[in-house]
Each structure stands twice: as structure tokens, then as C-alpha cells.
């Protein structure tokens, strides 16, 4: 890559040592020059920081937050990439979130933050451009994610310029799938970053991004900005995200039989109409908000009005965000069709600060295991029944409190539960991580095993399955399927290095990515960035393999092979061939 001045605007990395309460910056121009930013750089920093075999919840794990050359600069470049070792499975993991996180880190003057060590007492950290302050969080420890946000908004400066990333009680208690919440409604949801921060006794991270970055040449920048903005706002490319939002997927997926229902026993939920994007929009949608630097406003907030128990005509109104994944995880997959109840579950999860997908799958397993008689109320403390949202909420709080052995095991994931109680064949997880909600077919299952985010967004393979379905349903041969998954996942490494929101992937075509970079002074071609994406993809896979990951030994839950997808029953053999093909391509490339 041609060295540009623009790289210099990004190359400062802030190191924070929580054990010694010290901080310093290092110049990483070469790294940002070679690996762009975002996940590209986060991967390299992880390699520098985390030796093989360290305890994910010990002092040697780090939390890395990285942004990229387009962060805060162009529309929809709103995401921060976090990299860390996952406490769910002990491998390299990543998680992304928006809110104001990216613009705050970028305009505070940093390309990445690296948080090391374990504090001797609960603290929170405030980054105000070049100054870092370590503050006592004794008074905040034990607080819900909502309350800690409210307090920090008042006691720190920078309203309108800052991000407040924080953990709830679940993170403090090191629930392995605890999340980090930012700006109330956005999450580093998956893979347990909340537990990592909890292990470091870091309750919150406030970053104030008051600075700005001089644009080398305004004319081309303004032109490209305008074009991207028009595409984001006026073209159909991002339309689904601003109209109904991601819940738009509920009905189409149910229609084809790919909406996981009652612990994946079916791909159709008979009450899907009640929890569709349309129903939510018409009956409960109260406000839509956007992340910083994004004109789309995909964050859909529902309002629920509740009467106080003992006071007639006394109400409280709460705004709760909703999306497709939560609707699957604690809606169809738990047989919950009551929208009010569903929103109350989302709120409980956000308050505790725990990943909705993992929690939903764990509660679904627990409900089925109760039905089958391998566990009982003695373990779950409340009877778990499909659709009974009141008891599900109680169980969510028990996950944080861990009042008995059952819950102490449940916080380690559904595989840990199955190891103790049995019921492996319906414990839905891959490599220790519970999956996103698409029972679309074999390509999606393959991508869950090979993707590092364990998110549907790794390669978007749920969409590939659906395209195969709509063009007749004939599966490509495994080599071709491997190529499709690699090509998409590798390209997404570029987008995740810039860093743009993947909801903007339609807007940021290869051509536009090159245009956007070159308007800032980069001199790059499409071939270069395509190659870079592959290099990052392969590097991430190699890190996991070095850490002991064997993709071919990853268990595919039998339930997922039994319950037919729209493409029929998934063949384990086919999935294994796809994975083999993917990893053959990775090992052929030299380091």
C-alpha cells in the first residue's frame, strides 16, 4: 500500500494497563499501512498481545477496540471492531458495535485501544483525547447497564461527542456470553466481551471524541461523500434497514421454513405473524434512531406502557430496541409470541448485559430438557414452558445471580449444560457458541463453523442458501460452496477494516471502497484490497488453528441435521467437505 498522510491520522494506538493504572501511545503507522485498520489491525494487535494458551478471563487477555480509515469520515462508517480471546471457547474472537463508539475513538485521535491487565478494584476509564483517567467504580459495581449509563452521563463530560461502553451485572459475574453495551441500544453482543471486561474489573469505558481530522483535498472527498450519502438515503440498497429494520426477515424466513422455532424443532412458527417486523412497526414502534455518522436510522425502538401495580392510572413508558436476532432467539425459539412479553425479555437481557442469542438458545435447551425430564424445577427454580415469558425473565436474572449449580453451569454455555445433564443432540451450538437464527441450509452451517464472529454476518451464508433455494434448490459442489463462503467472508474483512457497518455493504461496492479511499489520498486498486481481505481472513483462521481449533472436529448438533431446512435435511458429510475445502485453501497459502 502506498503510504499516505491519511494513515498517520489513524496510526496512534492507545495502551491502557489496568493493573498499573498507566497508559501510553505507540505509533503503528506500518501496521495501519499494511493492514488498513479495523479487523485487519485488531488481528495483528491480538497476535502481538495474546500468547497461545492464556486464560480468557485472566490478566493476559486483552480487549482491543479498532476503527479504520473511513470511520467517522463517510456515511455509515459507524462500527468499532473489538478483538479478544473468547471465554466461551478460548479462541480468537471479534465483535462489532456502533452507537457513537467509532466516531468517539476516531476523533479522540486513535486508530485502536488496547486494554491490558486486571485492576485490583472496580474502575471505569475515561479517555478525553490525549488524557486517560482511572476512576473508582466502587459505587457503580453491581449496577445494571442502564443505571451505570445514566450515572456516567452525568458525571463525565462530552455530551454529544462521547461513547459510554459498559457492562451490566452479567459481565461482572463473568457470564461467558455477557455483552458490552454502548449508547443504551447497541451491543458488542457476541462471544463474551462483557465477561472479559468483567474479569478486568472494568465497569465502563468512556471515550470523548472532540477532535477532528483535516481532509487533504476537500473536492473529491465532498463528491464521494455526497454520492455515498445519496445511496444510503435514497437508493433501495439500505432501504430495508430503515423501513421495517432487520425484523423484515421474520415472515420471509418463516415462509420458507427457516425461522428456528422451539429449540430448532421446526423452521416454522405458527404465530410468526404476531412477531413480524410489520406487526412491531404498526403496533409498538415509537422512534427510530441512528448511530453517529449514519443517516439510515436502523435502530428501531418500541415503546411499552406499563401501569404501576398498586396505582391506577400511573404509568411508566420504556423504550426498547428490537431486531431480527432477538426476535428469533427469545421469540420463535422460545415459543414467545406476545410482543409485550418479548420486549420485556429484551429489556431484561439489556439490563443484565447478556447476549440475547446465547441466552435464548440456552433457555430453549433448558425448556426442552425440562419437557424430556432430564432436568426439573429443582434445577431451573422456575418452571420453564414454551411461551412463558415471565418465567424466562426470572431465569435470565438467575443467570446473573447463579443461585445453584445449574445456573453456575448455564453461564458457561449450552454445551457445558449438555456435558453435565445430557441432551447433547439438541444442545444447539458450534464450537462452544450458540448460533444466529437462520435454519436455511448447509452453507449457513458451514459458515458458522468457519466464521470468527459466529454471527450470520461472517459470510452472509444464510443469503446464499436462500439464493440456492430460489434458483431451484440444487446445492453447488462443496468446492464451489467453499469458494462462495471464502469470497464473501474475505471481502467482508475489507469492509470490517475500513470500518463500515455491514448494513452498508450494498452501498460500499468494491468500486466505491476504492473511490472513498482514494479521495483521502490512498492510491489503491480493487485487486489490492481484494487480496488484503483474503490475507486478513486467512490470518484470522491461522490464529485459531494455532490456538488448537480443529474445524473438522466441530460437532454439528444432531437436531440441526434432523429438522429439515428449506433445502432439505442437511448432510453432515456435505458440510464437512465444504469445511475441508475451505481449510485446504487456507493451509495452501504460506504464512
Amino acid at each position: 500500500m502506498k503510504m499516505t498522510d491519511w494513515v498517520k491520522t489513524l496510526s496512534k494506538v492507545l495502551y491502557i494497563d489496568l493493573a498499573r493504572k498507566r497508559y501510553w501511545t505507540e505509533d503503528k503507522t506500518d501496521m495501519f499501512d499494511r493492514w488498513m485498520g479495523g479487523i485487519g489491525v485488531a488481528t495483528q494487535l491480538y497476535k502481538e498481545e495474546v500468547p497461545k494458551g492464556v486464560d480468557p478471563l485472566g490478566p493476559d487477555n486483552v480487549a482491543i477496540f479498532a476503527v479504520g480509515p473511513l470511520s467517522g469520515i463517510y456515511p455509515m462508517a459507524s462500527k468499532t471492531v473489538a478483538a479478544f480471546k473468547s471465554p466461551l471457547n478460548g479462541y480468537f474472537a471479534e465483535s462489532h458495535a456502533g452507537g457513537r463508539s467509532a466516531s468517539a475513538v476516531r476523533f479522540a485521535g486513535y486508530g485502536a485501544l488496547v486494554i491490558r491487565g486486571v485492576s485490583d478494584r472496580p474502575i471505569y476509564v475515561v479517555i478525553d483525547c490525549e488524557k486517560v483517567r482511572f476512576r473508582d467504580a466502587g459505587a457503580l459495581w453491581g449496577m445494571s447497564s442502564m443505571s451505570v449509563g445514566r450515572v456516567l452521563r452525568e458525571v463525565t463530560e462530552g455530551a454529544g461527542f462521547r461513547t459510554i461502553m459498559r457492562i451490566g451485572r452479567a459481565g461482572e459475574k463473568m457470564v461467558r456470553y455477557a455483552s458490552v453495551i454502548t449508547e443504551t441500544y447497541r451491543h458488542f453482543g457476541r462471544m463474551g466481551l462483557g465477561a472479559v471486561l468483567g474479569s478486568k474489573k472494568l465497569k465502563a469505558l468512556v471515550v470523548m471524541g472532540r477532535g477532528g481530522i483535516k481532509i487533504p483535498n476537500m473536492k473529491p472527498y465532498r463528491e464521494v461523500y455526497r454520492e455515498l450519502w445519496e445511496l444510503a438515503v435514497k437508493s433501495p440498497l439500505a432501504k430495508k434497514y430503515h423501513d421495517l429494520g432487520t425484523p423484515e426477515n421474520v415472515l420471509p424466513l418463516n415462509e420458507i421454513g427457516a425461522l428456528p422455532t422451539r429449540n430448532f424443532t421446526s423452521g416454522k412458527f405458527e404465530e410468526a405473524d404476531e412477531i413480524s417486523g410489520e406487526e412491531f412497526a404498526e403496533n409498538t414502534l415509537a422512534r427510530r434512531v441512528a448511530c453517529s455518522v449514519c443517516p439510515v436510522a436502523c435502530v428501531h425502538l418500541a415503546a411499552i406502557r406499563e401501569e404501576y401495580e398498586n396505582e391506577k392510572y400511573f404509568y411508566k413508558t420504556t423504550f426498547i430496541s428490537y431486531d431480527y436476532e432477538p426476535i428469533y432467539a427469545v421469540g420463535s425459539n422460545l415459543g414467545v409470541s406476545d410482543r409485550f412479553g418479548l420486549l420485556k425479555i429484551f429489556h431484561a437481557l439489556d439490563t443484565e448485559g447478556v447476549d440475547v442469542i446465547s441466552t435464548g438458545v440456552i433457555l430453549a435447551w433448558s425448556t426442552e430438557a425440562t419437557e424430556k425430564g432430564i432436568i426439573s424445577e429443582k434445577e431451573t427454580l422456575v418452571p420453564l414452558r414454551w411461551g412463558d415469558w415471565i418465567n424466562y425473565i426470572k431465569a435470565i436474572h438467575y443467570l446473573t445471580e447463579q443461585p445453584n449449580d445449574f445456573y453456575a453451569v448455564a453461564v458457561r454455555g449450552v454445551e457445558a449444560l449438555a456435558s453435565k445433564y445430557g441432551g447433547h443432540n439438541y444442545a444447539i451450538s458450534f464450537n462452544g457458541v450458540e448460533p444466529a437464527g437462520y435454519h436455511t441450509g448447509p452453507l449457513f452451517i458451514s459458515s458458522l463453523i468457519t466464521g470468527s464472529r459466529h454471527s450470520h454476518l461472517d459470510a452472509g451464508a444464510y443469503s446464499m442458501d436462500q439464493k440456492i433455494l430460489s434458483s431451484g434448490g440444487k446445492l453447488p459442489d462443496p468446492a464451489k460452496a467453499a469458494d462462495m463462503i471464502i469470497e464473501e467472508d474475505a471481502w467482508r474483512q475489507v469492509l470490517n477494516s475500513l470500518v463500515i457497518c455491514l448494513f452498508a455493504r450494498g452501498v460500499y461496492s468494491k468500486g466505491y471502497v476504492v473511490k472513498a479511499l482514494n479521495a483521502l489520498g490512498y492510491g489503491l486498486g480493487e485487486d489490492h484490497i481484494t487480496k488484503l481481505g483474503w490475507e486478513i481472513y486467512a490470518d484470522k483462521q491461522r490464529i485459531k488453528i494455532d490456538e488448537g481449533f480443529n474445524p473438522l472436529s466441530v460437532r454439528i448438533p444432531e437436531r440441526l441435521l434432523e429438522t429439515p431446512t428449506p433445502l432439505g435435511q442437511v448432510s453432515e458429510q456435505y458440510v464437512h467437505k465444504v469445511i475441508e475445502e475451505i481449510f485446504n485453501r487456507i493451509s495452501k497459502k504460506k504464512r
Binding site: 461527542f161 443504551t184 472532540r210 477532535g211 434512531v289
Partner: protein, 115 residues
């Protein structure tokens, strides 16, 4: 805010005369603060060195050469529409150009002439 900041050749929020902030958390919604282009602007009256002068048709202009960076104008504005540039240590004064309006997809911002 980004559009406004870009008038000065920057990307960021640091030079913006428009401010967007939450009303105490995203769950309570947002407020957008812009200059109302007052007819008799209190900020101009508070300036001890006449760096701010009232414009015909409303609003003020800043003469940065006169400005001593005292910040009285910021305090004088009850709607908090005089922002502060902590790099140049001078107020950020809206020139009422309406450029931001082009980038507001939801019709929150408008530039109107008032008699």
C-alpha cells in the same frame, strides 16, 4: 454536524455549529441545537471587544481577528447555540448558510427567511 465541520476542511464534529445530543440518554430521544439567528442577538451584546456583530436579517458574524476567546458569548446564549472550538479557542458561529439542511434526511433542519 459532519456536514458543518466539513466547511472548514475537517472531518469530525469539532468545528460544527450544529450540535446533536441526547436528552439524557438515547432512550429519551435527541435534541438538535442550531443558531436561531436572533434579531437582537445576546451573544453579540456580551462580546467585550465587538468581535461579534449583528447581521441584517438576523444572526451574527464573527471577526476572529478581534476575538480574544473570552467565551462570554457562549454563556450569553440561553439555547446553547454558540459552540466552542477548543483547538482555536474561539467560538464557532453559525453563518446561516443552510449547508447542513442538505444532509438531514428527516426534515429536522430547515433554513427559512422570516420577516
Amino acid at each position: 454536524m459532519l456536514a458543518c465541520t466539513s466547511r472548514f476542511g475537517y472531518a469530525g464534529l469539532n468545528k460544527s455549529a450544529v450540535k446533536v445530543r441526547s436528552l439524557g440518554g438515547f432512550e429519551r430521544g435527541f435534541q438538535v441545537i442550531t443558531c436561531r439567528a436572533c434579531e437582537d442577538p445576546p451573544c453579540a451584546r456580551a462580546c467585550p471587544v465587538d468581535a461579534l456583530s449583528a447581521k441584517e436579517g438576523g444572526g451574527v458574524t464573527l471577526d476572529p481577528n478581534k476575538c480574544i476567546g473570552c467565551g462570554y458569548c457562549v454563556d450569553a446564549c440561553d439555547i446553547r447555540a454558540v459552540m466552542w472550538d477548543s483547538e482555536w479557542m474561539k467560538p464557532i458561529i453559525c453563518v446561516v448558510c443552510g449547508y447542513c439542511v442538505n444532509f438531514c434526511p428527516h426534515g429536522v433542519l430547515a433554513l427559512e427567511g422570516v420577516r
